[in-house]
């Protein structure tokens, strides 16, 4: 009788445990080396991101494989992306780390791009925020003051097809007369240009904003206007948790025009916002990777994100935003993939006519 109960107990345990963790089995990476392709140079934002993640992935992937960051810079990340597309085998041993600079040429249908995010499996994603600020000498203290504001503004830009699409299109939607000055090598030089008075409107990603712009605000040399926003779990753009007192870009639009933003311009802006900020950096598995391997990776990523020590890393070095693993990442990136072709076409057309560049 007792044996019978024991048997029942064991059977029950086996059945429940199998239903509870249905697919995280099979994939085991003992003794393997995983190559994580980063299409940027050592020391860049994406490289730092991957190096911060990799020891934790190493800890939580079954079999504790060695995770090696392989930098493959060139062509603004297109070369590394194309390499991944052509060469990566679906065995879970080659993964790819994308950034906004990788997603943008893809969305803009750059003819050099061979990679296709629609075919890959996303593992996890890291968001970042951006805060826009202005020179207070112009008489602007907050977004409200922008109503009917017609003075010419200058913005230090890296290029019309770079991440600067987000600020430039936002300025356009808000009806600001902003001249983009092209040729700056990134946000750092852009901020210095703002401090020099070479330009008078700028944005910084949140970590740089906290360390470099907040002191300027305290001295009265900068006035924060808005954040681009942050994605909530349902894919809506809400206020950035780093600056909860500032309106997000869609809110700012509403404050100025009394209605919610809509139309092809906003649809395109939102897709690019998700690709450039809401899910700026993401890890990908190649096409045709088995469900087992995908689930194993997503499970490991979820464990990394829950790790107390890693949470500290996120707070200190990754901007402090909640990291998105598995389903959250899939749902989030779907917004990038779902943007209608005509809205994308509208944006490409807008860049080509406004900035007189040829994209396609």
């Amino acid at each position: 009788m007792r044996k019978y109960f024991l048997f029942l107990g064991i059977a029950f345990f086996l059945v429940t445990s199998m239903t509870m963790v249905p697919t995280v089995e099979g994939a085991d990476f003992s003794g393997k080396t995983i190559k994580w392709i980063i299409p940027f140079n050592v020391g860049g934002g994406s490289d730092v991101w991957a190096r911060l993640y990799s020891p934790f992935l190493q800890k939580y992937l079954p079999g504790n494989p060695i995770v090696v960051v392989k930098n493959m810079p060139g062509g603004g990340s297109i070369i590394g992306g194309n390499y991944f597309h052509v060469r990566a085998k679906p065995n879970g041993l080659t993964v790819f780390g994308s950034s906004g600079s990788t997603s943008f040429p893809y969305l803009l249908e750059n003819p050099k791009v061979k990679y296709d995010f629609a075919k890959y499996q996303i593992v996890f994603a890291t968001p970042v925020g951006g805060v826009c600020y202005i020179n207070p000498e112009l008489g602007v203290k907050s977004v409200k003051d922008l109503k009917g504001f017609k003075k010419p503004l200058q913005y230090a830009s890296q290029g019309a097809t770079s991440l600067d699409i987000i600020p430039l299109l936002a300025f356009e939607m808000l009806g600001l007369d902003v001249k983009a000055v092209f040729g700056y090598k990134g946000r750092g030089p852009g901020r210095v240009a703002f401090e020099q008075g070479e330009v008078n409107i700028d944005y910084q990603t949140t970590p740089a904003y906290i360390k470099n712009v907040r002191p300027l605000i305290k001295q009265g040399k900068a006035a924060p206007l808005m954040s681009w926003g942050a994605l909530d779990a349902n894919g809506n753009i809400v206020r950035d948790p780093v600056e909860p007192d500032l309106p997000s870009m869609p809110e700012a639009y509403e404050m100025l025009y009394g209605k919610k933003p809509s139309g092809p311009g906003f649809n395109a802006w939102k897709a690019f916002f998700v690709a450039g900020f809401g899910m700026q950096k993401a890890m990908w598995l190649p096409e045709k990777t088995s469900k087992d391997i995908v689930a194993t990776y997503r499970d490991a990523a979820a464990k990394v994100i829950a790790d107390a020590e890693f949470k500290e890393v996120v707070k200190k070095s990754l901007g402090g935003y909640p990291q998105l693993a598995g389903k959250d990442a899939v749902v989030g990136f779907q917004q990038v993939l779902d943007v209608p072709k005509k809205d994308r076409g509208w944006l490409i057309n807008w860049i080509e006519t406004k900035y007189k560049v040829k994209i396609r």
Binding site: V42, G45, V48, G74, P189, N212
Partner: protein, 498 residues
């Protein structure tokens, strides 16, 4: 002041000192290998520093980067091959000295100059931290464009008696620099559909192609050893004395080094040329330059070590790197959880002083170790070159391949090498081409920004006018001396004509 001494105590702890020495040894090795410089060193060390405490990590990284411009003198002097982009100008006079059998003297002078320059850089860094922000902010895009022009004006000096050839050579350099993606518009120039050309030709490839390749070919043709004299002449102690005798040159060029390192966006790879050009411009008896004048070694070597101290300033205070290696160092800061910015002066001042002490100590260790090494290494110059050549070809090929790790690097090296050899044969100044190449991006970007932003008004800015006056003054001075020199008896050899 307390913080300064506290940081010294931290730096002198055995664990930190060990890291520093590891960094120094690694930096010396990277410097000796031609073509490998600070960027490669930083790239190798970055994965190691994960989880390290920031003070030890600083010892390692800064120890490494501080001494590269010390040991990169070895290949520049002894083989005429730039050890890294910071010591290309050292070749001009260092290599002729080696040919005369005075390699030890050149090295001794170079290491002493490096040491003083490095210490001076650390000192300036200490003094300037509180007032650095306004100075950096005074240099907008128009001023940076003028500085790039100032660099270009050295071309005239470096092209000796044939200014037309110098200008044309610089033009070739600018054109090579324009290959690939344009700095301000989303366009690719002359890539012919070749992926390798998207990012342009790497500096390492151009530098080694123009300088190392022709040297190897010519030495093989002659079939001799590098030193033409059978015996090694004066020793390193004479070199030390030379450097001390020209202490004002050392100090002046250290100032140039700090300033060039300090200004973000100018790029450290021209500092040696600017120092070298400056010393020629301001010297009366300049007939011997290019044929083994010890001052031509001292000037660039003091400037390139001082540069590292200057380069840390924009990196720490603005989060914008002053050079390629500082860009990687910036990533290192982020890995350590440090976000650079103006707050560093208040929140992380201890780290800044750790960096400064590490810089100073590394320069001392680096110079001592290099002097100790110089005696055995100079013997390489008496070995018949046919034994050395295969090894040298291997090393420069390897170094070039590190640039982007694609076949394109090797093909580009061959093409640049042929160009360099042809230029050398026909007496076209290769330094001018290199300066054009290095500055092309700056010239274009800052001019483009200035005109977009200010129209023609940028020409009326005070900084622009001051810099324009300096450029014109130095050109006039150059022409004046040149005229006086040629009115005297014509010098037998031609500078750079070799």
């Amino acid at each position: 002041m307390d913080v300064v001494l506290q940081s010294l105590a931290v730096v002198l702890q055995p664990s930190h000192l060990l890291m520093l020495i590891c960094g120094v040894v690694m930096g010396l090795s990277i410097g000796i290998l031609p073509g490998l410089g600070g960027i490669v060193g930083m790239t190798i060390l970055l994965p190691v520093i994960y989880g390290m405490d920031p003070h030890s990590a600083f010892g390692l990284l800064i120890g490494m980067v501080a001494v590269i411009p010390t040991s990169d003198t070895f290949p520049s002097v002894m083989m005429g091959i730039p050890g890294s982009s910071a010591s290309q100008a050292t070749i001009m006079d260092g290599y002729p000295l080696a040919k005369k059998g005075e390699a030890a003297r050149a090295l001794g002078a170079a290491f002493t100059a490096s040491l003083i320059g490095g210490l001076f850089g650390a000192l300036v860094l200490t003094l300037i931290i509180p007032i650095a922000r306004p100075i950096v902010l005074a240099f907008g895009s128009p001023e940076l464009f003028m500085l790039a022009l100032l660099g270009m004006s050295m071309v005239g000096v470096l092209s000796g008696n044939k200014p037309i050839k110098g200008i044309l050579a610089a033009g070739i350099g600018v054109m090579i620099g324009a290959l690939g993606d344009a700095p301000a518009v989303p366009e690719y120039r002359y890539t012919f559909g070749i992926d390798y050309l998207i990012d342009g030709v790497p500096l390492v490839v151009v530098g080694l192609g123009l300088f190392a390749f022709p040297e190897i070919v010519d030495l093989l043709i002659k079939g001799r050893s590098i030193a033409e004299a059978a015996t090694l002449g004066k020793g390193w102690l004479d070199g030390v004395k030379d450097a001390l005798k020209h202490k004002f040159i050392v100090l002046r060029c250290s100032v140039i080094g700090v300033i060039v390192g300090f200004l973000p966006g100018l790029g450290g790879s021209v500092v040696d040329w600017i120092a070298y050009g400056h010393i020629i411009q301001t010297t009366r008896d300049r007939g011997k330059f290019g044929q083994g004048d010890i001052r031509g070694v001292i000037a660039p070597e003091s400037a390139n070590n001082a540069k590292e101290g200057g380069g840390l300033i924009p990196t720490f205070l603005f989060g914008i790197p002053g050079s390629g290696s500082m860009a990687v160092f910036l990533g290192g800061l982020l890995i350590l959880g440090i976000q650079p910015g103006p707050g560093m002066v208040t929140e992380n001042i201890d780290l800044i002083y750790t960096a400064i002490w590490s810089l100073a100590l590394a320069n001392v260790f680096g110079a001592i170790l290099s002097i100790a090494l110089s005696k055995p290494i100079t013997r390489l110059t008496v070995i018949p070159f046919s034994y050395l050549a295969p090894f040298m070809v291997l090393i420069i090929t390897f170094a070039c391949y590190q640039a982007t790790r694609s076949w394109g690097d090797l093909i580009a090296l061959l093409l640049m090498g042929i160009l360099g050899w042809v230029m050398k044969q026909y007496g076209w100044p290769r330094p001018a081409a290199l300066i054009g190449f290095v500055l092309s991006d700056n010239l274009e970007t800052y001019l483009f920004i200035s005109v977009q932003r200010y129209g023609f008004e940028w020409l009326t800015r005070t900084g622009v006018i001051v810099l324009a006056a300096i450029i014109i003054g130095s050109l006039v001075m150059g022409i004046f001396y040149q005229a006086r020199k040629s009115s005297k008896a014509r010098a037998s050899g031609e500078r750079n004509g070799k």
